[in-house]
Structure formats: structure tokens, C-alpha cells
């Protein structure tokens, strides 16, 4: 009996060791991006697509995992002071930049100085401007003091502001750092030819011996989604970012390709300008909202590629379960008519909905147009070029507009700037001191439970006031060749290749 048991154990062990294949070294991962990354300096970068390349070129102080939890990267551990203002990071040993410069507490200090230097004009300035002091405690310990407690700070360090650039290279190149970026990541920069390719090569001295399986990564921009997919199908690419919604059902059953799919961290919907004009009348905003059937809208326009939503926290965020965020309201035409009467427009009213060019925004606008039309709300759809629309939204020169947010892992970055009075991203010109106070409180509160409570109150107010109609949460897609192994789909949509490998 005992012998049998041993045999079984051996058999099981043998089986599992076969099924967990060891990562292979070598090869080139060829990636199709949806745009050409314009800038390779994380402190100057503005385009979202830049961050795809950064994931492999740079290390950050900390990273996020699949469940949006903060995990160590260049910092192996950290402590936060009682008052929430002092972060002490213990740094990893034996880390060097691609140019041989050692990574240490001085390097971290230099990076913060660079981001905070007004004359340099870093695009990260507003993300780190609460930092009042960066102190080098010893070679591998750095202490960062904030002006006031700020619970999203670690998640900021898991993005571009936490990416460490080589002080030697950055001092030398100044603003030209983008042309020859130097980080500590598992891959180092080789070349970038605009609209053509970005080449990264394995960095042999990376601290993580298990990182960097492939020898090279080549990124190529394909703005046309059909061409991008065709290149993957033809075997010229190993992975692509974003696919046309219409392709998703077919890709799901495609034996030749693999597809990773999960709800992202961004939100989409409609801005309503509440300061002046017809929508200064809250009842009319509520009337419009009651006419919209979010489930039907998503089914018609997005099929399976989005989820109906009612707030800024998609599934995966710890604040998602807040009822005012996750419960999708039913369409209610009686309520809409009642609100129209309350708002003094019993026969309905008209407004202009501004949308960016492209098929999807127009389809969404048309669905809303027909839904709102049933109670006499007339939607006039106007197509405005993206750049022009941004200017109009900044100046609050619009009635309503379809525009969303790509999302960040911490709930704060998905709500604060958009609804705080006078916020740069507050397109609605919404002002509510109670919301301001609650959102400020959520920045100070440290436990998820406390923060969830604060955001519950915020969401109850926002769902009543409706400066923004949250309508859907888009899903993120990656399609790749079965040769590509070990890919972990983090909801931020970033392609982290450090532990990915290619089978022959």
C-alpha cells in the first residue's frame, strides 16, 4: 500500500514537472502597437502608448499585479509613517542602470529632483508635487516626505513617476534623454525609428536573473486595426494590442491565435456641462439619465467587448462593489417624464452632444439619441476633432460630450481630478464642497474599508447630481501567437514581457 502511494506521488510529480515547462531563452518578441510611441522619457511622456515600451525598458519603485495590488520592484520593502506623510523605501541591492551607473538612494533623489524641477518642466510634476523632501538615509534607504497624507502615492510610484532614469544619462542628455533612454529594466534601448520600429535588447546585468527571456523586443506601430491583426495572422508579429470589437467573437474560437480578455480600469460615458445652459437644471440631467438603457447600449454597440457601468470604478478595483458604482440603473421612462415636468420642460428639450470622429462614438450617440427621443429629448449630434474637442471641454464650451478616461489602478486617479471643484480634468465645471471634502478625506484615509466608505458617499452624491453619466467599462484585449508563453494580463493593459518567453 505504502509503495503504491509512493508510486502515485512520483507519477504526480513527474506529470506536474512536465506540464510546467521551463521558460526558454532567446528569440525576438515582435509587438504590434496601435500607435507610434512619441516620447521615450517617462518624465516627459504624454502618450499612453509610451508606457507599453516603458514596462520593459524601465523598472519602477513598485509595480502592480493582476489584482491591482502593489508589489515590490526596485523597492523591496517600505514603511509608511503613522501620520501617512513619510514613506521610507528600502531599495534592492546590486541594481545597475544600462549605462553602468549604480542604482541607489542618490539616484532616487535625482529622479524626484528632475520631476520637481520647474525649469525642466516634467509632465509628472503634478503627480509628485506633494513631495516636500527626499532624504538619502543611507545608500539603499530613501525617505520621501509629503506635504500631506496621500494614500494613492504608492500607486503613482507604480507608473511613470516611479520609473527610474539613469542620473548620468539624464544629466548629460537633458531634454534629449528621450532619444537615448537609459533605465534599469530587463531590456535596454537600441534604436527608435519614428513610425517604423523601436528595438530593445536583453540587459545582461539586470537584477532579476529570471527576467528577460527573449533576446530582443521589437515594437512596430500599426494604426490600422485590420492591418495589425493581419500581420499577426501572417506570423510577422507575436502579440498585438487592441482589436476591433467585431473581430472578438471570431478570435475567441480561432485555433491559431490566443486572446487575453479582461475588463480594463478605464471608464466611458457622457460629460454634462452643469454650470450654464439647459443642463444647469439638475432635473433635466436626471431625465436624460433615466431614458438611457445602458445594457442595450452596450449590447448594440460593443457586443461582448464592454460591460455596462454606472461609476468610475470598473470590476477589479477595491471600490467596485460600492452599490452606487456597480448597480446599473434600469431604464425608466416614467421617471424621465416626471423629471422633465419637475425641470419645467414637460414636452422635452434639445441639446448638442459633441463626439470625436470615428464609428464607435457616433454609434453610441445615435443609440442615446433614439432612447432620449422617446420622451421628447432631442439630441443633436456634432462631430468635433479630438484636439478641438479637448479645448472646448477645458473651456466648458459644450452641453454634453462623449469622452472617457483610460484609468489608473488607484481609485483616486479615476475620480478626484474629474469632480473636484476647479480640477483640471473637471470638464463639467461641477462644484460641490461635500464631494471635495469626501474625496480629500479618501486621500488621507489609509485602509481600503475607510476609503470605500468615503467613495460610497461620493458616488451617492454624483449619481444624484449627474455631472457625468457613466455608461460602460471597456474591456482590454491582447491577441498573441501560441508560441508566446507566460503572459500575465494585468488590467492596466500594459504588456510586461520580463517573464514572457517564446517557444519555437
Amino acid at each position: 500500500m505504502k509503495r503504491l502511494l509512493v508510486l502515485v506521488v512520483i507519477a504526480v510529480l513527474a506529470f506536474t514537472s512536465i506540464s510546467i515547462a521551463a521558460p526558454r531563452r532567446g528569440g525576438t518578441i515582435r509587438v504590434g502597437l496601435n500607435a507610434d510611441p512619441p516620447n521615450m522619457d517617462p518624465h516627459q511622456s504624454t502618450a499612453a502608448v509610451d508606457r507599453q515600451v516603458f514596462q520593459n525598458l524601465f523598472d519602477k519603485l513598485v509595480d502592480i499585479n493582476q489584482d491591482l495590488e502593489i508589489v515590490p520592484m526596485l523597492a523591496t520593502s517600505w514603511t509608511i509613517s503613522e501620520n501617512g506623510r513619510v514613506y521610507t523605501f528600502r531599495l534592492r541591492t546590486n541594481v545597475v542602470f544600462h549605462d553602468g551607473t549604480p542604482f541607489n538612494a542618490e539616484a532616487v533623489k535625482y529622479n524626484f529632483d528632475r520631476m520637481l524641477d520647474r525649469s525642466f518642466g516634467s509632465l509628472r510634476f503634478s503627480e509628485v508635487n506633494l513631495v516636500t523632501n527626499v532624504q538619502v538615509v543611507d545608500n539603499l534607504t530613501v525617505r520621501i516626505t509629503l506635504e500631506k497624507p496621500y494614500s494613492p502615492f504608492l500607486s503613482i510610484m507604480a507608473d511613470r513617476a516611479g520609473m527610474m532614469v539613469s542620473p548620468t544619462a539624464a544629466r548629460q542628455a537633458g531634454k534629449g534623454f528621450s532619444l537615448q533612454p537609459v533605465g534599469t529594466g530587463p531590456y535596454r534601448f537600441v534604436e527608435k525609428r519614428p513610425q517604423e520600429r523601436i528595438v530593445l535588447e536583453r540587459f545582461d546585468r539586470h537584477w532579476d536573473r529570471n527576467a528577460g527571456n527573449a533576446q530582443q523586443i521589437i515594437y512596430r506601430p500599426f494604426t490600422d486595426e485590420n492591418a495589425r491583426l493581419a500581420n499577426l495572422r501572417a506570423g510577422e508579429l507575436d502579440m498585438i494590442d487592441a482589436v476591433a470589437p467585431s473581430e472578438v467573437p471570431r478570435l475567441r474560437t480561432d485555433p491559431q491565435l490566443k486572446m487575453a480578455e479582461r475588463v480594463g480600469i478605464g471608464w466611458q460615458g457622457m460629460w454634462i456641462q452643469v454650470e450654464s445652459g439647459i443642463f444647469a437644471n439638475k432635473a433635466l440631467r436626471q431625465a436624460l439619465n433615466a431614458t438611457i438603457d445602458r445594457r442595450t447600449l452596450v449590447r448594440v454597440v460593443f457586443g461582448e467587448t464592454a460591460e455596462p457601468g454606472n461609476g468610475p470604478f470598473p470590476p477589479g478595483m477595491f471600490t467596485h462593489s460600492i452599490p452606487a458604482n456597480s448597480r446599473v440603473p434600469e431604464r425608466n421612462l416614467d421617471l424621465a417624464r416626471q423629471k422633465l415636468r419637475e425641470g419645467g420642460q414637460p414636452n422635452g428639450f434639445g441639446f448638442t452632444l459633441k463626439v470625436t470622429p470615428g464609428r464607435t462614438p457616433q454609434q453610441v450617440a445615435q443609440v442615446i439619441q433614439s432612447m432620449a427621443g422617446e420622451v421628447g429629448i432631442r439630441v443633436n449630434i456634432e462631430i468635433v476633432e479630438f484636439g478641438a474637442l479637448l479645448s472646448q471641454l477645458d473651456a466648458h464650451r459644450f452641453e454634453a460630450s462623449l469622452l472617457g478616461w483610460s484609468g489608473r489602478p488607484d481609485p483616486d486617479a479615476n475620480i478626484y481630478g474629474f469632480f473636484v471643484t476647479g480640477g483640471t480634468l473637471n470638464n463639467s465645471a461641477y462644484a460641490n464642497s461635500r464631494v471635495d471634502a469626501l474625496m480629500d478625506a479618501a486621500r488621507i484615509l489609509t485602509t481600503p474599508e475607510q476609503r470605500r466608505r468615503a467613495y460610497t458617499d461620493v458616488m451617492n452624491i454624483l449619481n444624484e447630481d449627474l455631472p457625468y453619466l457613466f455608461l460602460w467599462w471597456p474591456k482590454d484585449y491582447k491577441v498573441y501567437s501560441p508560441k508566446l508563453q507566460g503572459f500575465v494580463h494585468v488590467p492596466d493593459g500594459m504588456m510586461r514581457f520580463r517573464h514572457v518567453w517564446l517557444n519555437p
Binding site: 507610434d36 499612453a48 510634476f125 508635487n129 528621450s178 492591418a227 493581419a230 500581420n231 479630438f386 484636439g387
Partner: protein, 318 residues
């Protein structure tokens, strides 16, 4: 001829000047603050101010133009506001790509259009004529993006005969470079061929009806010699004009075709720069495109003189 060329060259200077002035004013008329567009969805006031200043947007338009033109006259096209890349170097990277695609597309266009146009004129109202006309119309009517995607699926995804897109310099891998040019050249070439073919057909019909052709025929020249040696050369004059314009247009970049086949040429550079309001880059691209059109037109004039000696003589007597 030299004097003629010199005069034409001098005339290009005011042309380029006006083009640059118009482009400079037009791009600033596009709604939307370029600094704001560069920052995308996230914008902070501090960063916006720094960026505006850096892009020189706080200065008056006329001053900005003056600074730009004075740099251009010294051969400095400036740097991209997106990543500090030199505009001149970027252009020098893109121009050979676009030039190669332009030339291969024209070769495809000519290879189709000249025989088809000549045949259609010679065998007017025959099955050949109708077939050529139908093919020509199809070439013009089929949108480039559709034909492009279809070719990729047929030749690259299913048959695996050709790579689906991209670019390799000919001196690195000539074989692959030529393979990569096949599909984009077909897409561009077939669209251009239609126009050339129709024009050549009508111009040829006119020539074939002229007195000297009748005389040549009476002398007993064979149809083949007559068409190739006499009629075709004379019928080519209006065609050369169109081809010149087409080449000029191609050098400005074929945006859709470049996008579908991931050809890193001038066209995609232009579109990316306009969408991101990268002023120095847009200016550089447009200046080059204008220069290309002027140069090609000049070349066409020289070709006229070769095709028709009367043009040379007129110039001498004038």
C-alpha cells in the same frame, strides 16, 4: 535650355516661400491648443504652461514665422516638439522610403497603362478596348484600403508568398525590400494606371487620326513601328504632365497605403505630425512636399523638350 532651367529654378523660391507662409498660418488656424493636444487626456496647468513656452506658443505668430524661416534659410529645420528629434534627419530617413515606393508604383502604373492605353486606342471599340476600360475603372473605383487588406489576406496570410508589411532598407536585405514593395506598389499603381491609360488612349486616338500618321502608313510602315516609334511618343506629352503630377503627389506620401502596409514614409510622418500638432515636423514635411512637386514639374518640362523638339525651339527663339 540652361537659361530656361535657371529661370524656372529661380521661380521656385517665391513658390516655396508662399507655400511655407500659407502652411504656417493654416496650421495655427486648426482649432485646439497644440500643447493641450500633446498632453492628451491628462493635463496639469503647470505642465501646460511650461510646454506652451517651450513650443514658443506664447510668442506672436509673425515672430514665430520669422524665427522659423530664418533658421530654414540657414538649413536648420528645427526639432520635433514631441521628442527633440531633428526634423531634417527624420525627413532624410523617410524620403528614400517614399521615393522608392513612388518609383515602384509608377513602374507598376506604366507597365499596365502604356500597353493597355496604346492597345485600346489601336483596337478602338474592340473587346480589348472595353476590357482595358473596365479594368481601368475598377482600378480607380476600388478603395486603396480595401484592396490593401484583401491583398494582405490573400498573398501574406493565406498564401504566405509575401510579407504583410513593413520596411527594410535595400542595402540591408534587397530581396525582402523588393518583396515588401510589391503589394503597396500594386495598390498605388493600379489606381494611378487607370488615369494614365484613359488619357493615353484618347491622346493616341487623336494622334492616330493625324496627317503624318496617314502618310507614314501610306509609306508602308508596319503598325507596330508606327505605334511604338511615332504615335506613342507624340501621344505621351499630355500623359507626361499627368505622370509628373502623380509622381509629385506620391512623393508627398501615400498616407492610406503607407498606413496599411506599415511603410514608414513621408505620408505617415505627415499625418502623425498633424494629429499631434508637431509644428516643426509638419512644416518640414510640407516644405519637402512642395519642393518635390516643384522639382518634378521642372523635370516634366525638360521631358517635354525631349519628347517634342518644337518646345525646345520655341524657347530658343523667345
Amino acid at each position: 535650355m540652361t537659361r530656361y532651367l535657371a529661370r524656372r529654378l529661380l521661380l521656385t523660391i517665391p513658390v516655396l516661400f508662399f507655400v511655407s507662409l500659407i502652411v504656417f498660418s493654416l496650421i495655427t488656424l486648426i482649432p485646439g491648443d497644440p500643447a493641450r493636444i500633446m498632453m492628451g487626456e491628462e493635463a496639469s496647468r503647470e505642465a501646460l504652461e511650461v510646454l506652451r513656452k517651450e513650443m514658443g506658443l506664447d510668442r506672436p505668430l509673425i515672430l514665430r514665422y520669422g524665427i522659423w524661416i530664418s533658421h530654414v534659410l540657414r538649413g536648420d529645420l528645427g526639432r520635433s516638439v514631441r521628442d527633440r528629434r531633428s526634423v531634417m534627419q527624420t525627413l532624410l530617413q523617410k524620403i528614400p522610403v517614399t521615393a522608392e515606393l513612388a518609383v515602384t508604383s509608377l513602374i507598376v502604373a506604366w507597365a499596365i497603362a502604356i500597353p493597355a492605353g496604346a492597345l485600346a486606342a489601336w483596337k478602338r471599340r474592340s473587346a480589348i478596348d472595353y476590357a482595358a476600360t473596365t479594368v481601368a475603372l475598377a482600378g480607380i473605383s476600388i478603395p486603396n484600403f480595401w484592396l490593401g487588406i484583401m491583398l494582405i489576406y490573400l498573398l501574406a496570410v493565406n498564401a504566405r508568398l509575401l510579407p504583410p508589411g513593413g520596411y527594410v532598407e535595400p542595402w540591408i536585405d534587397l530581396g525582402r525590400n523588393l518583396k515588401l514593395m510589391v503589394m503597396p506598389s500594386i495598390v498605388l499603381g493600379t489606381a494611378l494606371a487607370a488615369l494614365v491609360m484613359r488619357l493615353l488612349r484618347s491622346s493616341m486616338i487623336e494622334v492616330l487620326g493625324s496627317d503624318y500618321v496617314r502618310t507614314a502608313r501610306a509609306k508602308g510602315l508596319s503598325d507596330r513601328v508606327l505605334i511604338i516609334r511615332h504615335a506613342l511618343k507624340n501621344a505621351m506629352i499630355p500623359v507626361a504632365t499627368i505622370m509628373g503630377l502623380q509622381l509629385g503627389g506620391l512623393l508627398g506620401g501615400a498616407v492610406i497605403t503607407e498606413t496599411i502596409f506599415a511603410v514608414p514614409g513621408v505620408g505617415r510622418l505627415a499625418v502623425d505630425s498633424i494629429l499631434t500638432r508637431d509644428y516643426p515636423m509638419v512644416q518640414g514635411v510640407v516644405l519637402f512636399a512642395a519642393l518635390a512637386i516643384v522639382a518634378v514639374n521642372l523635370a516634366v518640362d525638360v521631358v517635354y523638350a525631349f519628347l517634342d523638339p518644337r518646345i525646345r525651339l520655341e524657347e530658343r527663339s523667345a
